[in-house]
């Protein structure tokens, strides 16, 4: 409890440019991981591998950005993986059926909107707990993806689509560019728009936000819709990469996304979170997985390392920034 008290006394978040003290803490964690792996596995620091890490982190980062907004609003979205799966199998089916790429992408993103909308409406209007709503839709959406495809992957995603999501510009993978743009938009949304203030207010004190005229339901719904759209976008990046859309795609994505957001400083109590922190969190997780593979760490020990690194990251975080 002394924490809560000290918390109250925590230094006001100060920004150096847009990098807060908290983000700096996360950055230190990332730098530490990079240094350690750099020493243990020299290839780790090659330019090619660093790009690799960014590319490998891009999917999780994309999801985690949506998750961050939902978490800030005081919610959680466990259904991102299955949302991605439905979006993926539907756009892939359309693509394979010869529908033009932009239409298929729109359809996929539309599915993301729809899934997010259902979550949002259940949370905002039916007043159900976000964890349980999205636990329910986690199963429901997955079942829909499986029933729709009969459990089979959709193969034969056309090259045009694949190049769009899996190509690169000047050596930078398109997916990395896309997620960077998404992050920028999310940052602007959170820092510069009324909606950002609403998200922070609703997550910070819903009742006060209500009395102050914040459109609570709309704000929450928007957060889930964005999370749904970004899950759909993540699935496009994935099927671009794999050339196939599987109904089981996105299994356990929610945990990685939540971990990234939390490592990046989001509080699951709502009202707090950072776009930059989340990006760094996703890169930390991606770098770790990449480094462990480079070092050929055996499966069981990879699991161990993953668990311990999450714990250590949170502790570093706690120390450098007052409170996790």
């Amino acid at each position: 409890m002394s924490d809560t008290i000290e918390n109250t006394a925590a230094p006001a978040t100060r920004f150096v440019g847009s990098l807060s003290v908290r983000d700096a803490g996360t950055l230190i964690g990332l730098v530490a991981i990079v240094i350690i792996f750099g020493l243990l596995a020299p290839e780790f620091l090659s330019q090619r591998n660093l790009l690799n890490i960014l590319q490998q982190s891009s999917i999780n980062a994309c999801l985690a950005l949506g998750m961050t907004l939902v978490i800030i609003s005081g919610g959680i979205d466990l259904s991102v993986g299955p949302t991605a799966a439905i979006a993926a199998v539907i756009s892939a089916t359309l693509l394979v059926a010869g529908i033009p790429v932009p239409l298929a992408i729109l359809a996929g993103l539309g599915i993301g909107v729809l899934c997010g909308l259902v979550n949002g409406v259940l949370v905002a209007y039916a007043g159900l707990q976000p964890f349980i709503v999205t636990l329910g839709t986690l199963s429901t959406y997955r079942a829909i993806a499986l029933i729709y495809t009969g459990g089979n992957p959709v193969l034969g995603v056309p090259q045009g689509f694949r190049t769009l999501f899996n190509g690169s510009i000047a050596g930078i993978p398109n997916s990395v560019v896309m997620v960077a743009v998404v992050a920028l938009l999310a940052w602007v949304l959170l820092k510069k728009t009324p909606l950002g203030e609403y998200l922070l207010a609703v997550g910070g004190n819903e009742e006060a936000a209500y009395v102050a005229g914040v459109p609570i339901a709309m704000t929450k719904i928007t957060a889930y819709v964005i999370s749904g759209v970004l899950a759909a976008l993540a699935s496009m990046i994935l099927i671009g990469r794999l050339g196939a859309a599987e109904p089981i795609l996105g299994n356990l994505w929610e945990l990685d996304a939540i971990a990234a957001a939390a490592i990046g400083g989001a509080s699951l109590m709502g009202g707090k979170g950072s776009v930059i922190g989340t990006l760094l969190g996703a890169i930390i997780l991606g770098a770790m997985r990449n480094g462990l593979t480079l070092m050929n760490v055996q499966a069981f020990y990879q699991l161990l390392a993953t668990g311990l690194i999450i714990l250590v990251a949170m502790m570093i975080d706690r120390v450098t920034r007052g409170r996790g």
């Binding site: 002394s2 008290i5 109250t8 006394a9 925590a10 230094p11 006001a12 602007v188 510069k192 728009t193 009324p194 203030e197 609403y198 922070l200 207010a201 910070g204 004190n205 009742e207 006060a208 936000a209 209500y210 009395v211 102050a212 005229g213 914040v214 459109p215 009202g271 707090k272």
Partner: protein, 503 residues
């Protein structure tokens, strides 16, 4: 002077960015009722929280009966014989009244294994009966009104048979009759040798119950050992605010133009309320606790669902399904429970201020931070925010300053009709007079203002007209010439045959 029961020696407390207390020293004798006075943010609560083990001082020590203590947690302070009534209600919603009162030191049977609820409820009832016997100790605390919950906090402090009882604004939600009973209790405790530290912004209470006082300003002791029997209130207030406060007369700016027409309004807690509010008018609403005043304001501001009735602003009927409709029509609510309904604790003062009017500060969906900052500087200067740090999280400000930020919120939103629910609860005398002036300024500028208050002097001070409520309905409507504490009280309790309508 008697040997001291309690001595603060050189206490300093530094929070990141603020020095809340610097070298505070004073003493309280056994059986003394000692007032601790100061403006919002002077450091009173911080000092008492150090005394009760919630905070650790950065420097200095607390002596109880000559023994030095370094309390590391509230429990240690309690064991040293210190009981505390906190400024904010410290209660757990899903527990009963008695469970809350005994939380942390339940009465048990079977060797400490099982909570003895019956005994707890019996003892709780005893303690509660001293102030408000109508409170059921087995009721969930969340079913009580704020005032009743405050009574529970007081009763809890009485359970401990402490040597020192620190009371941080114990009466901010209480009615005069409840205060009377509390005063009796305090005197009995003092007669039994218990020392009391009493913090309040209500000067009449302070002068009635306290013998001596310490005045703080900006974290320092300005003067201690003040003999209240031998001092004039203005003198003490002068010490608190560091300047003289002029008792200003009431000026009416009421026009005859109707701004708000409320007709036959009913909700789950109010019945058939009708009245008009004019431009430039300050309408006071008085009544006993639980008479439905808060619900009236919530209904007009769209926060509660209407069962029947209409609210018209400038002749247009509002579709009140949520506060937004009311806000759009120029209505702004300063809610009663600041912490629960007022502030977004983790956000800056500026964000809190701008929340309802974000759209006004945005162009093409992007917030114009420069414009926002200018407005914030302007309005928060006008309400005299202290400390004047616009990017600081609002939870780090004292209650009075939080209140000012919420007032600024509605000024920023351009509201023309302001609903103030207990606007000066927990607010120091200086800030209080600032708020009165603000209210008058608003009225002079053509705003319509409704002020709900449990403090009759306040109602009399600010109102052009008063509605007295009883049991959810309007019991009387009194013009300025009919207003007096006596008439209001008699209508509020129903000893006068009341008629609705202007007399």
């Amino acid at each position: 002077m008697a040997p001291s029961r309690l001595a603060f020696e050189d206490i300093s407390k530094v929070f990141p960015g603020v020095k809340a207390l610097s070298e505070v020293s004073f003493e309280v004798a056994p059986g003394e009722i000692h007032a601790l006075l100061g403006e919002n943010g002077a450091g009173k609560s911080t000092l008492l929280r150090i005394l009760s083990g919630v905070f650790r001082p950065t420097q200095g020590e607390v002596k109880v009966d000559g023994t030095v203590h370094h309390f590391r947690k509230p429990e240690s302070a309690r064991q040293a014989g210190i009981a505390m009534i906190h400024q904010e209600l410290q209660q757990v919603p899903h527990l009963t009244v008695a469970q809350n009162m005994f939380l942390g030191h339940s009465l048990t049977r079977l060797g400490g294994l099982i909570v003895d609820r019956r005994e707890q409820e019996r003892r709780a009832a005893e303690a509660l009966a001293m102030i408000d016997p109508s409170i059921d100790p087995s009721a969930p605390i969340s079913s009580l009104k704020v005032a009743q919950r405050q009574v529970v906090e007081i009763a809890r402090a009485l359970l401990d048979r402490a040597r020192i009882v620190a009371m941080d604004e114990p009466t901010s939600s209480l009615t005069p009759s409840e205060f009377d009973r509390l005063a009796g209790i305090i005197e009995r405790l003092a007669a039994g040798g218990v020392s009391i530290i009493y913090v309040s912004h209500k000067m009449d209470e302070v002068f009635r119950v306290c013998r001596r006082a310490t005045v703080m300003r900006d974290g320092k002791v300005v003067r201690t050992g003040i003999d209240l029997r031998a001092s004039a209130p203005d003198e003490v207030i002068g010490m608190m605010v560091g300047r003289e406060l002029l008792a200003e007369a009431h000026h009416s700016h009421a026009t005859r133009t109707v701004s708000v027409e409320v007709r036959n309004l009913s909700t789950h807690r109010i019945r058939d309320v009708s009245f008009d509010l004019h431009k430039g008018e300050v309408l006071g609403v008085a009544g006993l606790v639980g008479s439905g005043r808060t619900e009236l304001l919530r209904a007009i501001s769209g926060a509660d669902r209407l069962a029947a009735g209409t609210v018209k602003v400038d002749g247009t009927t509002l579709a009140l399904s949520n506060p937004r409709a009311a806000i759009a029509a120029g209505i702004g609510l300063l809610p009663e429970e600041r912490k629960r309904e007022g502030i977004i604790p983790g956000r800056s003062v500026t964000s809190n201020m701008a929340l309802p009017s974000m759209a006004r500060f945005s162009k093409a969906g992007i917030i114009n931070h420069r414009k926002l900052k200018r407005t914030a500087e302007d309005l928060l200067t006008r309400v005299k925010l202290r400390p004047f740090q616009l990017d600081r999280q609002i939870k780090l400000f004292s209650g009075g300053n939080q209140q000012k930020a919420i007032i600024a919120r509605w000024l920023a939103a351009g509201s023309r009709i302001l609903l103030f629910d207990e606007p000066t609860r927990g607010i120091d005398v200086g800030a209080k007079s600032e708020i009165y002036r603000l209210i008058e300024d608003l009225a002079a500028g053509g705003h319509g203002v409704i002020v709900v208050s449990s403090e009759l002097p306040e109602v009399l001070r600010v109102s052009d007209r008063v509605l007295v409520m009883r049991d959810g309905a309007v019991a009387a409507e009194l013009g300025r010439d009919q207003m007096s504490e006596e008439t209001i009280v008699s209508h509020a309790v129903g000893t006068t045959a009341s008629r609705i309508g202007t007399a």
